[in-house]
C-alpha cells in the first residue's frame, strides 16, 4: 500500500518536473514582460511536433530530434517575439491577454491545418525501464527529472551570475529604471521570451515518449495547467514555481489514482479557483490608482 502511494508520488514528481520546466518559462516571461502568455502551451506543442516531424519524415535519432524540436520552436519564438511580445512590454494587461490568445489560435490551428487534427504516434525516446531504489521506471521519466534539476540549477546560476540573468532580474523588479541604467529592455524581453518558449519546447520533446500521442490541440491543456502553477507559485517567482509544479504533479497523480482519472486534469485549475476566490488579497494588492 505504502509502496503504491510512493510510486504515485514518483509519478507525480515526473509530471511535476514536466510542469516545472514549462512553468518556469512562463513565470519568467511574466516577470519581464508583465504578461500572462496564453500561448505558452503552444510552444510545448511546437517542440513536440518538431521532434515528431524529424523522426517521422527524416528518420533522425531521438537526441537529434530533441535539438530540432527546440530549434524549430526557437525560430518561431524569434518571429513571435519580435513582432508581438516586445510590443506587450509596458502595455496594459488586456493587451497581453488578447495578443497571446491570438498567437495561440494562430499557432494551434496552423499546425492542425498542416498536419491534420488527428493523433500522431511519437516513436522516439528511451522507454526502456530502469530500476532505481527498487522502483521500475521508464528511462525517459528519469531523464525528465534529471533535466528538470539541471534546468533549475542552470537558471539559478544564470539569474545570479550572468549579465543576462541580472538584467532579467532588474527588468522584472523595476522596469522604469532599467532604460536609465542602460539596459536594453526590449532585447531582454525578447531573450527571456525565447528562453521560456524553448524551455516549454524542451519539456514537450522530453515528455512525448511518455505520452506517446501528439496532436495539434495538446498545447491548450498545458497552458491551462501551467497557469495555476505560476499563480500559486508566485508570478515571477522561479523557486515558488518549482514547488507549485511539484505539488500539482503529485496532487494530480494521487487524485487520478484514488479519486478518479477523469478529475486529474481539473485539479490544477480547481485549486487555483479556490485560492483566487478565497484568498485574493494574499496574492495581489488592491489599490486605487489613476
Amino acid at each position: 500500500m505504502l509502496s503504491a502511494i510512493f510510486e504515485q508520488i514518483v509519478n507525480g514528481i515526473v509530471s511535476g518536473s514536466v510542469y516545472a520546466i514549462v512553468a518556469v518559462g512562463m513565470t519568467m516571461i511574466f516577470g519581464v514582460l508583465r504578461a500572462i502568455n496564453f500561448a505558452h502551451g503552444e510552444y510545448y506543442m511546437l517542440g513536440t511536433f518538431g521532434a515528431w516531424f524529424a523522426i517521422e519524415y527524416f528518420d533522425l535519432p531521438y537526441p537529434i530530434a530533441i535539438v530540432i524540436g527546440v530549434i524549430a520552436t526557437s525560430i518561431i519564438a524569434v518571429v513571435v517575439g519580435k513582432f508581438v511580445m516586445q510590443r506587450i512590454v509596458g502595455a496594459p494587461p488586456e493587451t497581453g491577454v488578447l495578443a497571446t490568445l491570438g498567437i495561440a489560435l494562430v499557432l494551434q490551428n496552423t499546425v492542425i491545418l498542416i498536419f491534420g487534427g488527428g493523433y500522431k504516434f511519437f516513436s522516439g525516446g528511451y522507454i526502456e525501464p530502469v530500476s532505481i531504489f527498487g522502483f521500475t521506471l521508464a528511462e525517459q521519466r528519469v531523464l525528465i527529472i534529471i533535466v528538470c534539476i539541471l534546468v533549475f540549477v542552470g537558471l539559478e546560476l544564470m539569474v545570479t551570475y550572468s549579465r543576462m540573468g541580472k538584467a532579467m532580474r532588474a527588468v522584472s523588479q523595476n522596469i522604469e529604471c532599467c532604460a536609465v541604467v542602460g539596459i536594453d529592455v526590449p532585447q531582454v524581453a525578447l531573450r527571456t521570451f525565447i528562453l521560456g518558449a524553448c524551455l516549454a519546447a524542451l519539456s514537450g520533446v522530453l515528455t512525448a515518449p511518455v505520452n506517446v500521442s501528439v496532436y495539434g490541440g495538446m498545447g491548450e491543456i498545458i497552458t491551462f495547467k501551467t497557469l495555476p502553477v505560476i499563480i500559486m507559485g508566485g508570478l515571477g517567482n522561479v523557486r515558488g514555481t518549482f514547488f507549485a509544479a511539484m505539488i500539482l504533479g503529485i496532487a494530480e497523480s494521487l487524485v487520478a489514482t484514488y479519486v478518479g482519472l477523469q478529475f486529474r486534469d481539473t485539479v490544477g485549475f480547481a485549486t487555483l479557483m479556490l485560492v483566487l476566490m478565497w484568498r485574493p488579497h494574499g496574492l495581489f494588492s488592491a489599490q486605487a490608482r489613476f
Binding site: 500572462i36 496594459p92 488578447l98 490568445l101 490551428n109 487534427g117 499563480i231 478529475f263 481539473t266
Partner: protein, 328 residues
C-alpha cells in the same frame, strides 16, 4: 433665406431612415431570396448576438475583460435543453429559465471574482469555463456526461389551447430575428440609461467614478449578471437549434468568438456588435470556412485589433452612418 438656400437644403437628403427601413425590410424578407444555408449562417450569427451584447456591456462599457461567456452560454444551453427534454416545457419558459439561471449563478461567482485585479479576474473567468466543462462531463446523473443531451425538441409555444412548433429553418429564422431585435433593443436601452453612463464612467476611471458616488463594485456585479443572463439566453436558442448539447459547449472557442465579435465589431457600440456578429460569425459560417482557418483568422484579427485597430469596425460604421446623413 434666399431661394438658393432652399434648393440647397432640398438636395441634402438624410438617407439614414430609408437605409434603416431597407435593412429592416431585407431582414424580414430574407427567407424569400436566401437559401437555407445562408439563412442558417444568419441564424448562427444572431444566436451569438445576444451573448455578444452581454459581453459588450462588460468589456465595452464597463471595461472588464471576461472569458466567462462560454460558461454561462453552456449553463443556458443545458438548462433549456434539460427542461425541454425532461419536462417538455414550452420554449419561452426554457428560454427565460436559461437566462434567469445563468444570471443567478453569476451572482455567487461574481462576488469573489470581481474582487480580483484585471489579470486574475481574466484567469478566474477562464476557470469558470474549465470548471463548467468538468462539471458537465462528470455530473452524469444530470447532464449525461460526455454523451450530452440529444433530441432536444424544436421550440414550441403553448398559449392556453393554442400551440405551435417552430420547425424548419425559415420559422427558426424569424424566431431568432425577433429575439435578436428585442435583445438589441434591450442592450440599447441599458446603454442609453443613466446606468449605461455610469458604466462608461467606471471604465474610464474607476476611482473618479467612485468619488462621484457611483458604487462601482455593485455595478460591476450587476453588469456581470446581466451579461451572464444574455449569454444564457443565447445558449438556450443554441440548444434548441442544434438539438444537441454536450460538455463541448463549455469551450474557450465560444468565449473567443464572442470576444472577436465585440472587439472586432466595435466595443462600446451597439451597431458594432451587430455588424461584428454578422461579419465574423455569419460570413465565416456562410462561406463554409474550415474551422481551423476561421480560428487562424480570429487569431490574426485579435492581434490586429490589439495593436492597430483597438476600436474595431466602429469608426468605419460611424463614418458610413454620417455619410448617409449628409448625402447631397
Amino acid at each position: 433665406m434666399s431661394p438658393n438656400d432652399l434648393s440647397l437644403s432640398a438636395r441634402r437628403r438624410d438617407l439614414r431612415l430609408p437605409f434603416g427601413a431597407a435593412l429592416a425590410a431585407a431582414a424580414c424578407l430574407a427567407p424569400l431570396f436566401l437559401g437555407n444555408y445562408a439563412l442558417h449562417a444568419i441564424i448562427i450569427a444572431l444566436i451569438f448576438l445576444l451573448p455578444a451584447h452581454g459581453l459588450n456591456l462588460l468589456v465595452g462599457y464597463t471595461g472588464l475583460l471576461s472569458l466567462a461567456q462560454a460558461a454561462f452560454f453552456g449553463i443556458g444551453a443545458y438548462t433549456s435543453g434539460l427542461m425541454a427534454v425532461r419536462f417538455g416545457t414550452p420554449f419561452y419558459l426554457n428560454f427565460l429559465a436559461a437566462g434567469v439561471l445563468a444570471g443567478a449563478i453569476a451572482l455567487p461567482l461574481g462576488i469573489p471574482a470581481l474582487r480580483l485585479r484585471a489579470t486574475s479576474f481574466v484567469m478566474c473567468t477562464l476557470g469558470f469555463v474549465i470548471i463548467g466543462q468538468a462539471i458537465a462531463k462528470n455530473w452524469i446523473s444530470l447532464t449525461r456526461g460526455d454523451m450530452g443531451l440529444s433530441g432536444i425538441p424544436k421550440p414550441y409555444f403553448a398559449l392556453g389551447p393554442a400551440s405551435f412548433t417552430i420547425s424548419g429553418t425559415t420559422s427558426f429564422y424569424y424566431l431568432v430575428l425577433v429575439i435578436a431585435v428585442i435583445g438589441t433593443l434591450a442592450a440599447y436601452l441599458i446603454v442609453r440609461s443613466a446606468a449605461g453612463r455610469n458604466m462608461v464612467a467606471i471604465r474610464e476611471n474607476e476611482t473618479l467614478a467612485e468619488s462621484v458616488g457611483i458604487p462601482t463594485w455593485r455595478y460591476k456585479l450587476v453588469v456581470f449578471m446581466i451579461s451572464a443572463a444574455f449569454a444564457g439566453l443565447g445558449g438556450s436558442i443554441y440548444a434548441h437549434y442544434l438539438t444537441v448539447v454536450s460538455p463541448l459547449t463549455f469551450q474557450m472557442y465560444y468565449s473567443t468568438t464572442m470576444l472577436i465579435i465585440v472587439l472586432g465589431g466595435g466595443a462600446g457600440t451597439i451597431s458594432g456588435v451587430v455588424f461584428g456578429s454578422l461579419l465574423f460569425v455569419g460570413l465565416s459560417e456562410a462561406l463554409r470556412v474550415a474551422p481551423e482557418v476561421r480560428m487562424i483568422a480570429y487569431g490574426l484579427c485579435l492581434l490586429a485589433l490589439v495593436f492597430w485597430f483597438p476600436k474595431g469596425f466602429a469608426p468605419l460604421i460611424d463614418r458610413f452612418w454620417s455619410f448617409l446623413g449628409e448625402r447631397k
